[in-house]
């Protein structure tokens, strides 16, 4: 016989809920978004003793009142999906605060199982919890686990099956716990609500009464809509009376009473053997969040993360590059060297070149995420956000914005995904829109090509540095501007729990890292693949039927001449490259480049740069390859001296600088636009980002180029001499 049940995992952030979710479902997980909001929807499944169990991992919340998207989602899932069992994961070492959510689950009267997690940490702190007593007090089953060691997992699964569908043995009645004015008020309001006609979805009136007292926007609106003005006045008068009597607002009274009940139960069920002492966490915090040491320590740690990302990642990048090179050669080998097959060109130049170009950054991305996942796992990131809050606030952002901004130096796509930790939509949108200004890893090849071409070695580092700083300064200016115009509003108070430091398990770090790296790979496999093909088509078609001169005839002429073999080979390559350039100029890309010329000439750009900029839209680093093609130097990368020489002889240092500037600010790559659209749930914002940044790039580059020309800074060609 097989059956199926649905359970929901509820718990505070940092209660070890995700660890239990992973332990229960293993790899059978599905991550998506709740419709209309960007709260992650995690679902999984497992079977046990012939029963199929669907597991919904609710977002981690401290409460179930609709104050944030997470809390609204958690509450709505419980109300609408009616899981057969709610498994409430409770951090046993921080019991009272965690039980605040438990009490709210009891108020809602759902089938409940309490899991006391991290019971070993609680023991270490000298807390002895009597699970049976707790169970008797709440009227629901209570079990103990040590989440991160998968201890007690079978017991958990057995309990899940056993208690599914079973409601708490007694209603969680406020009056039975306290005989206060507030408890009476809750009951009185519930009685008034009794006669109001609306769909209760099986939840007791006392719950609606509590939510109304707490000022929950959704429930207040629901009751106001369903009842007449007189009824509302009666209800509001009852509440007003108790508020006046207690000299406190209703939502605080409700909270106080909940803690009162919890405190009473804990006194019965918990015995503490050790007096509070300064924990190891406190000792670490005394250094890490220290007013003087905090920021320097933060900078050192960030430096380590970036060092790890770029130094350790380097050889792996080389291997991947070599791997794709080999793949390309092997596939071209199938056709023979002189083959003009379009399929070969599509596979090798289009797909392998395009996707390979993006996957080359995978080691960097993985390492960056590994570093961040480690710091998050230890609990340091919460401290870092606190240390940075003041500074970020001055910049118009929230302390938590700094993590996405930091990730932005690696790749903008995961940076935008990382904005999810921001609670306020205003902060989130601001961070999302300015994140592309943090110069990402894919822009590095552009600088690496251009800087040595135009600037003396002695100031190379300064020029590179200046580009990064310009990006950061612009991000700050734009964030300020957005926060004072489009996203005007009160600053969201900074409140963050500092979880105790712990050494994260390798497994949890890898899972975390893999979640993010997986999305990057998916992007390479889908969007980038599609764009690579499109770009290839645009730079290949239409084919040139008749050339301005007969290249093959000229080549044979050169070969027949009496010049030395070396000169011959050089001339032949020159001619071949000219032919490729002429072909490109006739293709769609070339034509778009020509059409763009009048718009970008005030920036000091010609049609060739325009063509390369189109490539940069697919992925920034394509700029380099595309310049190689238009300047007919054949295959080009950032180390290409041939391309560099051509550039040095064609453009002024001012133009070179403007190219970098434009690439830094302008239209973020297509993948960024796609992710912004997904995370903001709107094409409007994605387009705003695209056109806004491009317009900004145009204006700034225009000012720099025209200003530079006027003042004759960097207008002398370096290569002409």
């Amino acid at each position: 016989m097989s059956s199926s049940v649905t359970i929901a995992l509820a718990g505070n952030p940092n209660s070890g809920k995700s660890t239990i979710f992973n332990a229960l479902t293993g790899s059978r997980q599905h991550v998506g978004n709740y419709p209309g909001v960007t709260v992650e929807k995690k679902e999984g499944a497992f079977s046990f003793n012939g029963t199929e169990v669907r597991v919904i991992d609710l977002p981690g919340t401290y409460s179930l009142t609709a104050s944030s998207p997470e809390e609204t989602v958690a509450r709505d899932v419980l109300v609408d999906e009616k899981p057969d069992l709610v498994v409430n994961i409770v951090d046993a070492s921080n019991l009272e605060r965690n039980l605040y959510l438990t009490v709210q689950l009891l108020e809602q009267r759902v089938p409940l199982l309490i899991v006391l997690n991290m019971i070993d940490t609680a023991k270490g702190k000298g807390l002895e919890i009597d699970a049976d007593r707790l169970s008797a007090q709440f009227g629901v089953p209570v079990i103990k686990t040590v989440g991160h060691r998968s201890k007690g997992l079978d017991e958990l699964k057995t309990s899940i099956l056993r208690f599914s569908g079973i409601l708490p043995s007694k209603p969680f009645d406020w009056v039975s716990h306290t005989e206060s004015h507030l408890a009476k008020c809750v009951n009185d309001v519930a009685k008034e609500i009794e006669s109001v006609d609306f769909d209760r979805k099986g939840i007791p009136d006392s719950w609606y009464s509590l939510k109304y007292l707490e000022g929950d926007k959704d429930i207040t609106a629901l009751i106001s809509k369903s009842s007449g003005g007189d009824k509302l006045d009666t209800i509001n008068n009852i509440i007003k009376a108790v508020e006046d009597h207690e000299e406190e607002t209703a939502e605080i009274l409700v909270a106080e009473h909940r803690y009162g009940i919890i405190g009473g139960i804990c006194r019965e069920a918990v015995s503490s053997t050790i007096e509070a002492r300064r924990s190891i966490s406190d000792k670490i915090d005394a250094v890490v969040t220290n007013r003087f040491l905090g920021i320097p320590l933060f900078l050192v740690l960030m430096y380590c993360v970036f060092w790890l990302t770029f130094t350790v990642g380097d050889p792996f990048m080389g291997w991947i590059e070599a791997g794709f090179g080999w793949l390309g050669e092997t596939i071209s080998g199938l056709w023979g060297a002189d083959s003009e097959s379009m399929l070969k060109s599509l596979l090798v130049d289009g797909i392998i070149g395009g996707v390979g170009g993006v996957l080359v950054f995978l080691p960097n991305i993985i390492l960056l995420f590994l570093g961040i996942a480690f710091l998050e796992g230890t609990g340091y990131m919460a401290r870092a956000a606190f240390i940075m809050d003041r500074l970020m606030n001055k910049l118009g952002l929230h302390g938590k914005s700094f993590i996405p901004m930091l990730v932005g130096f690696g790749c903008t796509v995961p940076a935008i995904m990382a904005t999810r930790t921001l609670e306020s939509n205003r902060d989130r949108m601001t961070t999302m829109l300015v994140a592309p200004l943090m110069s990402c890893g894919a822009r590095l090849p552009i600088y690496a090509l251009l800087i040595p071409a135009f600037f003396p070695e002695s100031i190379e580092a300064e020029i590179m540095w200046s580009i990064y700083v310009i990006g950061i300064v612009l991000a700050i200016v734009c964030a300020k501007l957005l926060r004072s115009t489009l996203f005007k509003g009160e600053e969201v108070p900074f409140v963050m729990e500092l979880p105790p430091y712990r050494l994260p398990t390798l497994r949890s770090i890898v899972v975390h890292m893999w979640d993010r790296a997986g999305i990057y790979m998916k992007k390479a496999g889908t969007i980038i693949l599609a764009i690579s093909i499109l770009l290839w088509l645009a730079s290949t078609y239409p084919k040139t039927e008749t050339f301005s001169k007969d290249y093959s005839a000229e080549i044979s002429q050169v070969q027949a001449s009496s010049a030395s073999a070396e000169i011959k080979a050089q001339k032949v390559t020159e001619l071949e490259n000219q032919q490729v350039a002429e072909e490109l100029s006739n293709t769609i890309t070339g034509k778009i480049g020509h059409a763009m010329a009048p718009f970008i000439s005030p920036l000091g750009f010609d049609w060739k740069i325009g063509t390369a900029l189109i490539g940069a839209f697919a992925a920034k680093e394509v700029f380099v390859a595309q310049m190689g093609i238009v300047y007919s130097v054949g295959e080009a990368d950032e180390e290409s001296t041939a391309l560099r020489t051509v550039l040095t002889n064609t453009y002024t240092p001012l133009q070179g600088f403007c190219m970098m500037l434009f690439c830094l600010i302008s239209a973020p790559c297509m993948a960024t636009i796609a992710i912004t659209r997904r995370e903001s749930n709107s094409w409007g914002w994605a387009m705003f980002q695209l056109f806004g940044l491009t317009a900004l790039a145009w204006v700034i580059t225009f000012i720099v180029y025209q200003g530079g020309t006027l003042l004759e800074i960097g207008t002398k060609m370096v290569g002409a001499a």
Binding site: G215, E251, I252, A255, P493, V495
Partner: protein, 80 residues
């Protein structure tokens, strides 16, 4: 002297002393958020760290919370 008279905001309260939360001076949503984190009248908090700019790390029971300057101003406490 009653406790109410001695109420000071958390942003100026001394480090290390046991402080009793006296009242929350925010809106409904702010009060709910603080309550869910355990900052509610009657609870004892303890400042572990103060930053010159006004941010605080406070200890409530076994948990540590980082609070920004604006938050601290809205929490009134009394030295026990």
């Amino acid at each position: 002297m009653s406790v109410m008279n001695m109420a000071i905001s958390l942003s100026v309260a001394p480090v290390g002393a046991d402080l009793e939360v006296v009242s929350l001076k925010g809106g409904c949503e702010f009060n709910r958020r603080m309550s869910a984190l355990g900052i509610v009248p009657g609870m004892i908090v303890n400042i572990c760290q103060n930053h010159p700019e006004g941010g605080r790390v406070v200890k409530i029971g076994e948990q540590r919370l980082a609070l920004g300057e604006g938050v601290c101003c809205k929490i009134k406490v009394a030295v026990k």
